[in-house]
Amino acid sequence: MTSHAVEVVGLSKRFGSMTALEQIDFKIADGEFVSLLGASGCGKSTLLRIISGFDRPSRGQVLIYGEDLTNRLPERRPTNMVFQRGALFPHMSVRENVGYGLRLRGVQRAQINARVDEMLALVRLEALGDRDPAQLSGGQAQRVALARALAAEPRVLLLDEPLSALDLKLRQQMQLELRAIQKRLGATFVFVTHDQTEALVMSDRIAIMNAGRIEQYGTPRDIYRRPSSIFVSDFVGATNLLRGHVSGLSADGVTLDTEVGTLHAAIGPGLQLGQRVALSIRPEAIRVGRGAGASADRQIAGAIAEIVYQGNSIRLRVVVAGSVSVWVECRDEEADGLGIGNDVTLSWAAGAANLLRES
């Protein structure tokens, strides 16, 4: 009998007249690291608060390991939370913070001590047990918050943007650390973030949220390479959207009439003649050829309008068909000898372009 770690069924949440979540259905498997990714106000934090029990859904259910916990108080749920800014108890030492959950359960002092030692070792803060939270750096405080939540032995750990207050270097280091801890413990983590890189780096699966709905739920690779909507392709990573409509359908593909000319793409499900679509192509998936070539199925011609040096790579803005900008990302040496005003030919592989319907 394998039940999912978390199962959310038909969940909706309204605040007054505003809908925060609309018909959310999704499942998280045991031991998975799942990120809820979206801009602020998309409903990701509300969803996490409903799973943790701090908010009640207007409709729908939350199941944890098969048990319906929709109406259970937060203190009686097998979930624990790492809060955005740690939320450490300022009047307790680090050790007291970490042991608080166990103390509430009436665990013996010796056992609490052992568990606290174990958790502090896990987050590499053995030496700071007797400090006050006010004496900790941002990264240390978040490690203590993690240790405190894990010490209570949750079946599911919820993390509400725990790294967002840290600076970039520390954040990147903590991302890897968090991921390593999760793998070591084999625990189920649900991680809320607005940072797409963070989600891509850490997650087994990502749920992209927008306006109270889950737009796409899949592995980072899926999300990046096979975005299911214009929103997702635009939100995760940078992309070029070539807009137009379907002008021909055949067994081997679709002909598109776009703002940069006639293009060809692989067939997608449920496409109709005349339908408004966009072709999404990542900047790094485009190859740059010197000189003006003829437009073809997967090839367009344009002129370089801007060159942005980024250190490890170079971005080119190429103007196609007089007014449409297409961004291309390539390695430094690939752009050798290219200058503003040069004519170029852009092309891409068949699998690199995603055909997305306009909503």
């Binding site: 605040f15 007054g16 007249s17 505003m18 925060a20 106000g41 509300t46 701090f54």
Partner: protein, 291 residues
């Protein structure tokens, strides 16, 4: 829309209304009900010591039409405005200095200013009588130094002594709201305005005053209301020529010729006039500080 976003960012787990109840009930029972009763009584009539329920504005009319009462009322407003006109600018300057000149010592100065507030209300009024009295400290010191021959009479039992005393009492109450309002003004804003070429006067009129307007309003309200409503100061340091409405109200409730409805009407006229002035002055300040 704003309502729902509030609900989203709510920090507190709803504590319910239970914690509000004890103080809330207390307010209702011992503030709301007595004040409303007094308002009702101001519409009654008094015959000798007997109160006759009625619905008449005769008491209000009497206060406004009687030369004596109207004169006292106008003098009270004058003293209140005079005190506020000194207190608010002085408190504003002090708060500005605390915030922008002595930044780190600001809190310490505030503590000192507030501490004086809690050093005995009666005592401070009494002390001013000691200082300003005919044979008081100031006069005797001046005579001792040979600067004057006869004691200066205007120092005590006059409007002067009333205002001097009130300013000392009210200053701390005005500094507090002004200082906390200025704490909310980022230094950057001041520097940005100067960078854009605002001179000191411009800065004051178009940046600082509008930004600390809530503080100015509170400070003015405190200063004027407490000055106009004070009872002890005119009694102790005011002379017969500086009787204020508070003394007349008190006379209607204590002593021989009591008339509760009349006293109640006076009380609400003071409160009403204060509110009107408060609104009027706020408007004037807003108008002056417009672009």
């Amino acid at each position: 829309m704003s309502n729902s976003s509030n609900a989203m960012t709510d920090r507190a787990p709803g504590g319910g209304i239970a914690p509000l109840l004890p103080a809330g009930l207390f307010y209702f029972l011992f503030f709301g009900v007595p004040m409303l009763s007094l308002l009702v009584i101001s519409l009654w009539r008094a015959q000798g010591f007997v109160l006759i329920p009625d619905f008449t504005f005769a008491n209000y009319q009497k206060v406004i039409e009687s030369d004596l009462y109207r004169g006292v009322l106008l003098r009270t407003i004058g003293v209140g405005l005079g005190a506020a006109a000194i207190v608010v600018p002085v408190a504003f300057t002090l708060a500005y200095i605390m915030r922008f000149v002595f930044e780190r010592r600001g809190q310490l100065i505030l503590q000192l200013v507030m501490l004086s507030l809690f050093s005995g209300y009666l005592v401070r009024i009494y002390a001013w009588r000691t200082i300003l009295g005919k044979q008081g400290l100031l006069n005797s010191a001046l005579q001792w130094l040979g600067l004057i021959e006869e004691p200066l009479e205007f120092l005590i039992y006059s409007q002067f002594s009333v205002v001097v005393t009130l300013v000392g009492l009210l200053l701390p109450m005005a500094v507090l709201p002004l200082y906390s309002a200025m704490l909310n003004v980022p230094r950057d804003h001041i520097e940005a305005a100067r960078d854009l070429g605002a001179n000191r006067f411009h800065l004051l009129r178009t940046i600082l005053v509008p930004m600390v307007m809530p503080g100015v309003r509170t400070a003015f309200a405190f200063a004027f209301l407490l000055a106009a409503g004070d009872y002890v100061t005119p009694t102790l340091v005011g002379g017969t020529q500086s009787v204020m409405i508070g003394n007349m109200i008190a006379d209607q409730f204590r002593g021989t010729g009591t008339n509760w409805p009349l006293g109640a009407a006076m009380a609400f006229i003071v409160v009403g006039v204060s509110l009107l002035l408060y609104v009027a002055i706020t408007q004037v300040v807003r108008w002056v500080t417009r672009w």
